[in-house]
């Protein structure tokens, strides 16, 4: 390499603080999915929203890239990290974890669900803080009392756990059943909501 080439490389412009694009992108209608990650008492969470509302809440286990790729495939590849656009759901979650909020008010975008799954999750979203229901009850609510196994699958694919409180669904005998974030998290959520585990749902 000649001396001038060496100089060009060595003295090339250094990286500057980069201008933030998210507001301009949103104003131009080009921000289809905004996301942010933050630490919670249940581990790192990823929140994603569309202009319609919150579309995804994921428990991260080192799989942020996969979660984002899935959103790119299912919704749109126009995805940007835009933490300020997730301030509202984040504030509600903070309040929920502090025990000062019992109902979520952020608008939800149900686009990642459909059919029976959506009906099961919508029924689940109506179960109030501190209450529980059985798989069979939500299956009935969703229009098919016999499909409680399918209801279990629907809950397992819940794209917005915590806020759509699938942790409040238990087995008829009082057993915990399953949970998308692992049973330990289900126990913590139910415990924080005052569920003792001994009473019948």
């Amino acid at each position: 390499m000649t001396d001038i080439e060496h100089q060009l490389r060595r003295r090339a412009p250094i990286p500057d603080p980069l201008p933030d694009l998210t507001e301009a992108a949103a104003a131009a209608g080009l921000l289809d999915v905004a996301y942010a990650t933050f630490d919670s008492p249940l581990g790192t969470l990823l929140l994603a929203s569309t202009p319609r509302g919150l579309v995804r809440l994921a428990y991260l286990n080192g799989d942020e890239a996969e979660v984002l790729e899935h959103l790119a495939d299912r919704l749109s590849p126009r995805i940007l990290a835009a933490p300020r656009r997730l301030d509202e759901p984040r504030r509600e979650l903070d309040e929920y974890f502090e025990g000062t909020r019992r109902r979520f008010e952020v608008p939800l975008d149900w686009r990642l669900t459909r059919g029976f799954t959506r009906r099961v999750l919508e029924a689940t979203a109506r179960i109030p803080y501190g209450a529980t229901a059985t798989y069979k009850q939500v299956a009935t609510e969703a229009g098919n009392a016999l499909a409680f196994r399918a209801a279990g699958n629907a809950l397992g694919s819940n794209p917005i756990p915590i806020i759509v409180p699938c942790h409040r669904i238990l087995h008829s005998g009082g057993g915990l059943g399953g949970y998308t974030g692992g049973l330990e998290r289900k126990r913590v959520l139910l415990g924080a909501e005052g569920y003792s585990g001994s009473k019948q749902p």
Binding site: P13, D16, A25
Partner: protein, 155 residues
């Protein structure tokens, strides 16, 4: 067509695109060009047919913004019919490296080729793809620029 989340593109190439723009249009105008580049990219992204070389693609978009910017600047400052081949005197004074200030005064194609090669670390194939030329032309542009800088640049 499977496209990666746009954020991964921004994280992978954002810093180099910005440096390329600083090298091409100067620090003062780089931020505007940067925003225009990424907005244009975001607009076109979902319709992109080939995701095999996203680096070339994003630098092609940035290169177009540089051309627009240079044209707009000339329209403001230079009488029609007397268009010089370089940015020359209209470039805003920026406290910048004097060698790279010399680069900014090279003819457009040489300046772009040099910025791609030494800022974005692009190979000749990539430079050719971004600038829409042959590899041979890309090589020649870089070579001519180096030759010129060697004679004109006095540290």
């Amino acid at each position: 067509m499977r496209l990666p989340p746009f954020q991964t593109l921004l994280e992978a190439h954002g810093p180099d695109v910005h440096r390329f723009l600083v090298a091409s249009v100067g620090r003062v105008d780089a931020d505007d060009c940067y925003q225009e580049t990424w907005m244009a990219a975001l607009r076109a992204y979902p319709k992109l047919r080939d995701a095999s070389n996203l680096k070339s693609w994003i630098f092609t978009v940035a290169h177009r913004k540089v051309i627009d910017h240079v044209r707009a600047r000339r329209r403001v400052a230079v009488p029609v019919g007397d268009v010089p081949e370089t940015l020359a005197t209209n470039a805003p004074p920026t406290p910048d490296d004097d060698l790279w200030a010399n680069v900014r005064e090279l003819p457009d194609k040489q300046r772009t080729a040099v910025a791609l090669r030494y800022v974005a670390d692009a190979g000749y194939e990539e430079i050719a793809a971004v600038m829409g030329t042959s590899q041979e032309a890309a090589r020649r542009n870089v070579h001519e620029a180096i030759k010129r800088l060697r004679t004109e640049y006095q540290p």
